[in-house]
Symmetry: C2
Subunit: 79 residues, 2 copies
Amino acid sequence: MKARVTITLKNGVLDPQGKAIEGALGALGFSGVGEVRQGKIIDLELAESDRDAAMKTIDEMCRKLLANTVIENYSIDIV
Amino acid sequence: MKARVTITLKNGVLDPQGKAIEGALGALGFSGVGEVRQGKIIDLELAESDRDAAMKTIDEMCRKLLANTVIENYSIDIV
């Protein structure tokens, strides 16, 4: 079973990487670009074939390792 | 208009970050984890209100700045 975890910064958390992209796009001549925020995705392959069990395992992975829940939100999609 | 750009490594490109996550998950006791690949997302706010024009602009942004098309694939979703 394949899953994708999407990790984004919570609202209000400063995102210097996003700001840098915003600045670079402006410098390249792209106008009308508002806020830019960067996040990450993690694609996982799991041996588990039960959807609910997989969701539970991945949720635990996110809390223990993948996401910093103080400043990040995460969402899990089973593909 | 809001858009999300998803950037992933092409197949066959070595992903040390993914490998590190894979190793760390194993060390934490998660078994049955196959390949792990990491990618990134970039959330953009655009002043443009026409969907097709926005797609075209973002595609250009990806080719010029956001993605390294030699080793990365990108996809664009208008939200």
